[in-house]
Symmetry: D2
Subunit: 261 residues, 4 copies
Amino acid sequence: MAIRVLVWGENIHDRENEIVRGIYPDGMHGAIAKALNADPAIEATTATLEQPEHGLTVDRLARTDVLAWWGHRAHGDVSDEVVDRVAERVWQGMGLIVLHSGHFSKIFRKLMGTPCALKWREAGEKERIWVVNPSHPIAQGLEPSFVIPQTEMYGEPFVVPEPMETVFISWYDGGEVFRSGLTFQRGGGRIFYFSPGHEVYPIYHDKNVQQVIKNAVKWAANPAPAWTTVAVAANVPTERAPEPLSQRGPSLHQPGEEGFR
Amino acid sequence: MAIRVLVWGENIHDRENEIVRGIYPDGMHGAIAKALNADPAIEATTATLEQPEHGLTVDRLARTDVLAWWGHRAHGDVSDEVVDRVAERVWQGMGLIVLHSGHFSKIFRKLMGTPCALKWREAGEKERIWVVNPSHPIAQGLEPSFVIPQTEMYGEPFVVPEPMETVFISWYDGGEVFRSGLTFQRGGGRIFYFSPGHEVYPIYHDKNVQQVIKNAVKWAANPAPAWTTVAVAANVPTERAPEPLSQRGPSLHQPGEEGFR
Amino acid sequence: MAIRVLVWGENIHDRENEIVRGIYPDGMHGAIAKALNADPAIEATTATLEQPEHGLTVDRLARTDVLAWWGHRAHGDVSDEVVDRVAERVWQGMGLIVLHSGHFSKIFRKLMGTPCALKWREAGEKERIWVVNPSHPIAQGLEPSFVIPQTEMYGEPFVVPEPMETVFISWYDGGEVFRSGLTFQRGGGRIFYFSPGHEVYPIYHDKNVQQVIKNAVKWAANPAPAWTTVAVAANVPTERAPEPLSQRGPSLHQPGEEGFR
Amino acid sequence: MAIRVLVWGENIHDRENEIVRGIYPDGMHGAIAKALNADPAIEATTATLEQPEHGLTVDRLARTDVLAWWGHRAHGDVSDEVVDRVAERVWQGMGLIVLHSGHFSKIFRKLMGTPCALKWREAGEKERIWVVNPSHPIAQGLEPSFVIPQTEMYGEPFVVPEPMETVFISWYDGGEVFRSGLTFQRGGGRIFYFSPGHEVYPIYHDKNVQQVIKNAVKWAANPAPAWTTVAVAANVPTERAPEPLSQRGPSLHQPGEEGFR
């Protein structure tokens, strides 16, 4: 069965900015989904901010294996309810690929527990992306390094927790470096952050960038059944303890009572 | 200079529940602060939920090196504004020690990015806490294992990110296990979660538990100056790039413009 | 294409000890390989200590995707040359599953860089294995916990580096705990340590244990091409630097000279 | 009490190469020790390859809190016995700072369990070292980045396990990047790898480099008592199990017998 990918796009600059519209007539989300759909193992669709519930209904998320996220100008317009819903699905096992300026999205900051700040410069400079672990699934099919001719610089310190794996590190013309490909795990969900993707350059048309996103989709897809109890604090009553046990001493809760949250 | 610790207590069961009041006439926070103050290198004070801003004003937090957090019944009553403020201070370098049912506090869940769920049972059973790394600063002065005669069971899966270090693992009479001492780093702040501490048993009077908390305070205190820009996405204009650089191609932002958040 | 697994057994107690022989007429390696071969996606063969080069020739390892290792009494009899060869293949991308007393094998200690010591007791006591992350590939098809009725106790501290993931933690009748399922990455190779498997109990006939090993094989198999240069310190001459560069200042090496090792 | 640092130098190029001798009349180890001794909290001495037991006797190591290691041309001349001895002391809690070409030293490779390979170029190019976590103890007193005007390039992939923390990442004139400051933990010992330090440039006279090494010494010093049993697999006899236990079923070992290694 194909991996069901949902490419979410903010779809603002895609429509309103002439340069961006010229590069991505179907939006960045459209371009990414199209590139993914070239792989028969992937079935990609799109959703955007302006749709009801931002196109991220409970039902839609339930049928999504991996969600890719691009946002920039309107992070604050994404409803907290939807963000909580997406986080819950990630914890249950949905993969998440956070692209470029998505570092400041509500969903990424919620899952990281850090500010996710970084340095930036929009000079159209060159970025060279180095593969740190060439045998990592996300690095398959790439050269030891590849170049993005024009990029927005993102520089360290990138305030995220220590990643599970550092997959890519970027070098910039202007002298900075950046951990441009990082993996994280939250509950059952695998998360990949990938920094290239500034909207005024044709970065999502780059074949290496497309390869990375395709690889990341396959890496992030978790075939395990959804971990639906991931946020449940289950009481194990004394009489159902794995080892025989008798109640001793005082107790705060009445039998069968729910825990506090 | 002494380490300035602020022990925060919800202070509800401490006052309202007769058993808890009997064990902790000055509240759990009071007992913990008293134990910490026995060490001349530590200067511990307390704050509680019912105080204005929960006793966690900007100024108070600025003068705090390590915050210890105990909450249970009223996690939802802690204002989001105060939670954001505490998180910002942790990112800047303040240490945080999260105790027992604080696993479900807003601040811990915010910093972890996971549900922080676990299994639980209130049977007054025995807990044996094993030291996983005896040379870790938080394990100093302890035997290879120590016993808490009556405890609330907390069982795996404990839904947190992979920790920086697993310091303690607990064994329970009833057959469960739990990673009872875990370290994390978020920005400049070190975080230690320690599970023992159910309020109807005299756990914070236990000398081993007191030793752990004292050790954790010393481990979590970060003498570095506060990282005040930890959440700032600083623009580095082209003319101030570390290496000489000239502007190329189109740009989304006007010179000097702030980034989107 | 099926995953090519090589199950390596020391094959000493399997032949010499009457109890072990009774439980495993084809050796433990034989029992494990048979269980794996029940899965059409896996093609398992065996090799043993007494074979030439311990059955681990260069060619054989080149055709192995995942190596499972069981040793106990004769760790010292494994030749250093073969150990180095196995390590090199792991770095290149071969998966490695280290079973039970293999914690003290030369290959595991070499890959960990630590003593890999632990506590132990052979009392035939009960072990309860808890799943720490139910959505991990290695935990698929298991209940929240499962029991091994008679086991050798392995207790903390287990002196290994912090793992990439803690998949299982064990509870023992006698009061100890142990991180019984841990993952590591070394170069291109994924490593899984799994502690159950004492030879005088029929542990490798247990269906849960078989499920774990089968899952681990699938998790550890890395489809990436072998990383053949993983141990090579490649010189990048000045004239082939990614960015134009001219030689400045003194130099220790002559052009084209190899680096020191 | 001052931190007792032992700076170990290979002392070959220091004596035989005219350029190196000119920069470091007292050897690189001498220059590093001198810089460290400027801090009253540190007491640094030196040892070199040509001394009996390379100056690393059991007694000397027992009195060492942190060992700094510089080697390049003669890694193979360091005796395996001494390497094992140093590793044991690291596991027991001695800190280890591995400098520059020490990435290929026997001791570092033994503790990492990986090839520790990297790319290199000796062009005297510029290196810019970026601080990834400005609140880390090892980064104190530094600017967001600092420059080494002439350096040997070390490039990714650097084949080490995922570090505990990435403290520094380097940018090079020639287009490469490198994780130039990494922390690891092995048993009780903290390890810091720091890449700058090529012998034909005056890098150890640089005040930022000296600051990093001084910070690293303080970070790596573990005041805990030596973990002398770190490599011991202790048997816990049935009658001394923490919980009452009776022997069940067959057994491989006789009571009181040592485990196999």
